[in-house]
Symmetry: C2
Subunit: 370 residues, 2 copies
């Protein structure tokens, strides 16, 4: 999910499409919907509001804005992608902070051996509590571990389940992409610890708001504690803004029929168009391939569709060994598979850039060898 | 600076004054000024704004909003409390995150022995990079170290300078309270790494916005990297709001005379009144004492005044050994000196609560033994 900032600057290239969005998957595609929605999502914050550190002292997560919590519950109910009952909500500065909070909460403070997860974030402070132990498929050590299940998966978009299946394990479900624009909603997820973020659901990455649904109260308390120690809570302004955004999304998808197009219908259509364009360009060139993933019935949209992930996991076929360099030579900036533990024959490409950039990318791709 | 959340909840007591503000020094006192200022500080954010992760890709700190950076520079110039020339600005989710970013940046990644700082934050992730080594006055180990200079100091309000004075040391200056409502501005600070926060300067703690002024470009880059790994940047909404707030503060203190009262005149007066009330209550009871700190000339306000810190560092005299418990028995919630490495004869009391709570506190204090 991360892309080193040094690399960002080295790659910023005015003459290339997808210049920085390829890195975090900058979700500027969503601007279109929000521009159409007009003033409905505008927020107004007076100067004397939200001065306090505290949002709700009676809540376990004392920096959680009640309005934001309410809209999280409502949206999951509308979409049917997660069960919020019997879960505590913990808000974070993006799901990145929540992931670290989860590691902190789930690591046994007395364990002599640290336990695993995402490499760059996990190892950034060289913590003695936990360390990245590599791909879960190859994990065979004894002792406690944390398995991160990202479903749909980043980078390849496949639907995942836990693979370690060994005692002493704790699961963290990163469900950032489990929304109807990317993949069919097939069941309401009801895991112990689930992570979500507005960056990928509504496109408001600049707000840095994520949330966790946590069954165990002690784990939720420890996550809250981590965020207290790390940043003394989470921006109230952004929580209030995120609450408004989630409300407008839920309102737009009311069964009674809203005046606006349902946010997920609109964005599912955008993604569908983009994936069709990409598959056509790939077919035309004959040099590339993208994963074919099975169609599934979406309980929310009421129809079946193939996954249309936020990132394209593109493979260079034939004798091209370094796909990133090859595409760079064709003015397409991507992120090599080697950053994700795969072969350099693969690259990851953001599908969430603005129309003009995305169209330029598809044009350039389809012109290669044609 | 921190107060454990478990402790917060244990202490929440509807019948007591200062119930939670005592903990972080919740700056709700400032609501009064901002209510008077009316709509000037109101911000309006449309739904399609700030979707991207990026604020300024040409800036070393790529998530820093240019408008916020501009107002930081202007405010320091207006107040004369810090030199911004030849410093890089790094924005953080409060100064707490920036402090951790500084530790990350200043710790030699190859050092075999970790180095020191604030205990609770530093040790929270049990980092192998650094650890809290106790009070700087008693630090006498060889090898690299980081010294945190908090001036004016928390909890006792005294003006501090580096004390370790040994080679291999790096200084971090926490200048959160170096503003004219708390202490005289005597010179523009020009240190290598200075930390500031809106929580203590304007009272907008809920925005979670702090900034660092950093001389060394490599240190600023590493701090940026830490914040990227920790939270992928800082809320744009809150940065935009903080920019507006700083602008209104600078405008209000224009020499040409603004229609509003200068923010620092107003808040300096508030603090002055509160300290007079406290000293009267302390004198009346005969059971307590507060530090007497020397008056200094303030280059900004153009007059001399005694420090009037954001926290009162109160000592229980005579045979009272546990000041916190004693005051609790009198319905006054405080934080024991033992949390700050001092005797339990001392307590820390927030001076930044709302008028009604502050007045209740002073009333209760002055009634003890009277």
């Amino acid at each position: 999910m991360l892309c080193p900032s040094d690399a960002v600057f080295a790659r910023v290239d005015k003459d290339s499409s997808n210049s920085k969005s390829h890195c975090f998957g900058d979700p500027t595609m969503y601007e279109k919907y929000w521009q159409k929605a007009g003033d409905k999502t505008t927020i107004v914050i007076p100067g004397w509001q939200s001065l306090s550190y505290f949002s709700d002292v009676r809540n376990l997560c004392w920096f959680l804005e009640p309005e934001f919590a309410k809209e999280v519950v409502r949206l999951h109910k509308v979409v049917g992608n997660a069960i919020t009952e019997n879960h505590h909500i913990v808000v974070g500065t993006g799901s990145t902070q929540l992931f670290q909070a989860a590691l902190y909460a789930l690591s046994s403070q007395d364990a002599s051996e640290p336990i695993s997860s995402y490499p760059s974030i996990t190892d950034c402070v060289k913590s003695r509590l936990y360390k990245w132990a590599g791909d879960a498929k190859r994990f065979n050590k004894d002792g406690p571990y944390i398995e991160l299940v990202t479903s749909p998966n980043n980078p390849d978009g496949s639907v995942r389940q836990s693979v370690v299946n060994r005692s002493g394990g704790i699961l963290v479900h990163d469900l950032a992409y489990y929304w109807p624009q990317y993949t069919s909603i097939t069941y309401p997820a009801d895991h112990d610890l689930m992570l979500f973020t507005v960056s990928k659901s509504t496109g408001h990455a600049g707000t840095r708001i994520g949330w966790a649904l946590v069954k165990d109260m002690e784990v939720a308390k420890k996550m809250t504690k981590y965020i207290e120690l790390n940043t003394i809570g989470v921006s109230k302004d952004s929580q209030l803004r995120a609450a408004k955004v989630l409300k407008v999304v839920s309102d737009s998808c009311k069964p009674s029929g809203s005046e606006d197009e349902c946010f997920f219908e609109f964005t599912n259509h955008q993604m569908s168009t983009r994936w069709k364009q990409l598959r056509m360009a790939v077919q035309k060139s004959g040099l590339f391939s993208v994963p074919e993933l099975p169609s599934q019935f979406c309980t929310f949209l009421g129809r079946a569709f193939e996954p249309q992930p936020a990132f394209a996991w593109l493979k260079c076929e034939q004798e091209i060994e370094d796909c990133e360099s090859f595409l760079k030579g064709n003015k397409i900036l991507t992120r090599s598979g080697k950053h994700f533990g795969f072969s350099p024959k693969y690259v990851r490409i953001s599908m969430l850039d603005r129309d003009e950039n995305y169209n330029l990318f598809v044009q350039r791709l389809s012109k290669i060898l044609s």
